[in-house]
């Protein structure tokens, strides 16, 4: 058959992570620091609620938007955390992970040729989702000197009359960067001025280590133009349950719900019941996990200081993003050699956009003992590279 495949699908670059994954999975004894999900098990009371829902025979579709009970809990949660009110009936949609919300959120708002602003380094899905929605992705390259935050100037410079929506991925994967209130106030002004939409991906909202997470929807005039995305994967260690949600203005959510209805029907029912329990009784779990992540974060930053590896201090998610430019290698070369010589897997920064060149993403979703082992190997490797450089001089 001629032209069996969609040109658009074929044209998408495969994820840079995939390639690395293939190498790592062939090595049995590799230690990995490359995982983008919590090392904790889902807290037992949450799992128990999922099991209970199965025992009770709650094995049917829920409404397209998701269980009303869960949507109500989500609204309570956002009210409690951000002080912003959403209507559970019309302004909340339960999705299959935050990823689905990214996909249908973009498809719900863009027209062919519209520009989608994507700050990078960032999660791998934004660009392909924008392309498949028929939009033109426009990359904003974030800078280490700004702690990988998005500045008003960078945003202003990227906006054209075709700009439709800005993706705001903070706390950020892979850099660990956060946006504080003053940062958000500045960019909100630009957004209002140019009358564009925002998709705020706040999946790591519960994992911040400086001030409490602030959302763009708290800024004046932002709630009515923002698709707020969050989910249960990172905060409650529920990645495999595939459950996220989107909140936003009714007009947008109506379109998203339509797309969701035709492609997905509804998010997994078992997961939805478990998520109700997570929101009702999971605060203490989140606090404990976040405390543990913070300890590991401090451990890593100190270890980098000791080995004189340059790294800005990230205050969110569970990643650090050290700079390896001193070694004169690409991120990919560094990661491949490190894996081959020390059997430790890290993800090259370029997997999250070209401007990730010169950086590595190191995840601290590992026990301290594991981190110690791997970081010891990194210190050895870095030392060896420096010695080699000296010899060459």
């Amino acid at each position: 058959m001629r032209d069996m495949l969609s040109k658009q699908a074929v044209g998408l670059k495969p994820s840079g992570i995939r390639k690395f994954f293939d190498i790592v999975s062939e090595m049995d004894d590799a230690i990995s620091l490359g995982v983008g999900e919590p090392d904790f098990d889902t807290p037992w009371h949450i799992r128990d609620e999922g099991i209970y829902s199965l025992e009770k025979g709650r094995t049917f579709y829920t409404s397209n938007s998701g269980l009303m009970e869960l949507r109500q809990e989500i609204c309570n949660y956002i009210k409690r955390k951000q002080g912003v009110t959403y209507d559970p009936q019309h302004e909340v949609l339960i999705t299959v992970g935050g990823s689905e919300a990214i996909d249908i959120g973009l498809r719900a708002v863009v027209n062919p040729g519209d520009e989608v602003l994507i700050p990078q380094p960032s999660f791998v899905s934004y660009e392909p989702c924008a392309i498949m929605a028929g939009a033109v992705p426009v990359i904003i390259e974030l800078k280490e000197e700004n702690e990988f935050r998005l500045t008003a100037k960078e945003l202003e410079d990227a906006i054209t009359e075709k700009t439709k929506i800005l993706i705001l991925p903070f706390p950020n994967n892979p850099t660990g960067a956060i946006m504080e209130r003053k940062d958000l106030e500045e960019i909100a002004e630009v957004i209002r001025k140019h009358d564009i939409l925002v998709m705020s991906d706040e999946i790591y909202a519960e994992l911040t280590y400086k001030e409490k997470h602030v959302s763009i929807v708290e800024m004046e005039g932002m709630r009515e133009r923002t698709i707020l995305i969050n989910g249960f994967s990172k905060a409650y260690a529920m990645t495999g349950w595939r459950l996220g949600y989107a909140c936003g203005p009714r007009e947008i959510l109506e379109q998203m719900t339509k797309l969701h209805q035709f492609a997905i029907m509804c998010a997994p029912t078992t997961s939805q019941y478990a998520a109700v329990e997570a929101l009702r009784n999971g605060d203490e779990d989140v606090r404990e996990m976040s405390m543990a992540y913070n300890q590991r974060r401090r451990y890593l930053l100190n270890a980098f200081r000791e080995m004189k590896l340059s790294c800005f201090e990230p205050f969110g998610a569970f990643y650090v993003f050290p700079c390896i430019k001193e070694f004169g290698m690409t991120s990919e070369e560094f990661a491949e050699r490190f894996l081959a010589e020390e059997k430790v897997a890290v993800v090259p920064g370029t997997a999250f956009g070209d401007c990730g060149e010169g950086y590595l993403r190191i995840s601290y979703a590992y026990s301290l003992d594991n981190l110690k082992l791997a970081i010891g190997k990194l210190a050895d490797f870095v030392e060896r590279l420096r010695q080699q450089d000296k010899k060459h001089e």
Binding site: S15, I17, F20, F21, V24, S25, A30, S32, G34, V35, G36, E37, D39, F123, V124, S125, N173, M291, N294, Q295, R296, R298, Y299, N302, A345, V347, A351, S367, L368
Partner: protein, 160 residues
């Protein structure tokens, strides 16, 4: 820092002081001072090691004993509790609400030794009304640590 420090050392009392300071984000001297204060205030009462004796060749038997007693005027349960906890083979004594009064845990070399203790020493105390002895057959989890299974990382090795 106090709560976080206590939680960490409750899990791992052997953690290095310098490392403790790093992960708490404070100076090493602060940790030393805080630990000293916690010891002086009796909040930290000791540093123990968790041992799974099952895995050694040393014979050990543990039991839980429910004890019903008559409280004494002016003393309540304190006197009798003290008489019980002074025996070295007794590893813990709790005052319990509900159907009985004291829960005593005991460690001995054999069933015989434990039953001997209960019949000769515990039951013969004046204020003890009755005892019920439960031998421990297997420890699955102790002090928050699962003994029967090792942690296994089943995640994909690399993910976005």
């Amino acid at each position: 820092m106090r709560e976080e420090l206590l939680k960490i050392i409750e899990r791992n009392s052997r953690i290095d002081l310098k490392e403790l300071a790093v992960i708490l984000g404070v100076e090493e001297m602060d940790v030393v001072n805080e630990l000293q204060a916690l010891e002086e205030q009796g909040i930290i009462c000791g540093y123990h090691t968790m041992i799974d004796w099952e895995k050694t060749s040393i014979e050990k038997v543990s039991a839980l004993i429910e004890v019903r007693v008559t409280p004494q005027r002016g003393q309540g349960f304190d006197n009798i509790a003290e008489r019980v906890y002074k025996y070295p083979e007794v590893t813990s004594v709790y005052l319990i609400s509900g159907g009985y009064d004291l829960l005593v845990t005991l460690e001995g070399k054999s069933l015989k030794e434990i039953s001997g203790f209960v019949s000769d020493k515990l039951s013969t105390l004046d204020s003890v009304l009755s005892t019920a002895t439960h031998f421990i057959l297997k420890k699955y989890k102790d002090h928050g640590t699962i003994l029967t299974k090792k942690y296994e990382d089943t995640r994909e090795k690399v993910s976005p």
